[in-house]
């Protein structure tokens, strides 16, 4: 009996390790490539003077509680990212589900050297209830 438990444990650790080597936000990456990459670019650098970067962007931490709203409803008016001003409007992507939005947020918060912590689906749902 113990042998069986042990082999299960070994098997489990094996798969857990396998998973380690994969990019953890694969679904968010696909969503990003479908809905965001045209503007914010593969490397998250945006377009100088027009589209703000996501790579290394202070906006992501300063406005962490608004990211879900930005993605669903878009953003208008002047904003400042890393000390530079941007004013072109961004259209929202209303067809994304709450889960898809959470996955995108976690992807952009962990890609390009970003390390901004994990956002839960509950946080996203709460944010979306309070969008202005």
């Amino acid at each position: 009996m113990q042998k069986v438990t042990l082999s299960f444990f070994l098997l489990f650790s094996f798969f857990a390790l396998l998973n380690c080597n994969q990019k953890p936000y694969a679904h968010g990456k696909i969503m990003y490539e479908n809905f965001c990459v045209n503007c914010h670019m593969e490397d998250g650098s945006g377009l100088i003077g027009n589209i703000p970067p996501l790579a290394g962007a202070d906006y992501l931490t300063k406005h962490a509680d608004q990211l879900a709203c930005v993605i669903r409803y878009g953003l208008e008016g002047e904003i400042t990212v890393n000390g530079k001003k941007y004013s072109a409007p961004m259209a929202g992507v209303p067809q994304l589900t709450d889960v898809e939005i959470a996955n995108i947020i976690n992807y952009i918060n962990h890609e390009w050297g970003n390390d901004n912590g994990y956002t839960t689906i509950t946080q996203v749902k709460n944010q979306l209830k309070n969008c202005q």
Partner: protein, 208 residues
């Protein structure tokens, strides 16, 4: 035995060198015609547009120069930011090469007014010494897109209301198209910049 190895090494080396030399001249692209026994190549026709500084931009603007052409519009939500980014990469890499200019045609002639084009150019940090953003008669801009192997048309189903393809086109000093690439693909743009290098080299080689 040693001799064989040496010859082998030499042969490998020669083969490698041959591989690397690649083509020295770019082809002339587009349909060719035979007129009175002479080959006539596809050429960019006469045009007259207005740039971000309200200056006229015509074929004469590019006399003796090569240029890169694209079609875009400022509020375009799909491929244009990538096109502009690629154009900007080319701008930066060839900034000092006076024989190369850039020409971006706005296909949204209603919204992309001269002041808006000016603001857009400023935001990218570029000027009309190097990079012209032009507007003009809408049909003329749509028509000339075809001469640049591009597509531009009204399309209410497309995001932003226009349908267009994201090609970057390299035109030589004789109005002929020498290379093009998908401006939304950074790797294709890398290769395209090598093509630009080839053309500049060709232009700098004294004609015999």
């Amino acid at each position: 035995m040693k001799n064989i190895i040496n010859w082998g090494t030499l042969l490998c080396f020669l083969l490698l060198a041959a591989c690397q030399s690649g083509p020295t001249n770019l082809p002339i692209l587009g349909n060719k015609d035979e007129v009175d026994g002479k080959t006539v190549y596809h050429e960019i026709p006469d045009f007259a547009f207005i740039n971000q500084d309200s200056a006229a931009v015509t074929n004469a603007t590019f006399a003796g120069k090569a240029y890169i052409s694209d079609h875009f519009f400022i509020s375009c939500p799909t491929i244009c930011p990538k096109l502009s980014k690629s154009m900007l990469r080319i701008h930066d890499r060839f900034e000092k090469d006076e024989e190369l200019l850039l020409l971006s045609h706005s296909i949204d002639t209603k919204y992309d007014t001269i002041p808006r084009l000016k603001k857009y150019a400023n935001s990218l940090g570029v000027t009309s010494d190097k990079w012209h953003f032009v507007t003009g008669d809408k049909q003329e801009i749509f028509d000339i897109a075809e001469d640049y192997f591009n597509i531009a048309m009204d399309d209410n189903d497309a995001p932003g209301g226009y349908n267009h393809s994201g090609r970057l086109i390299l035109v030589d000093e004789n109005r002929r198209i020498r290379a093009f690439c998908d401006g939304t693909d950074p790797k294709a743009v890398d290769k395209f910049m090598d093509d630009i290098d080839l053309l500049l080299k060709e232009m700098r080689t004294p004609k015999t």
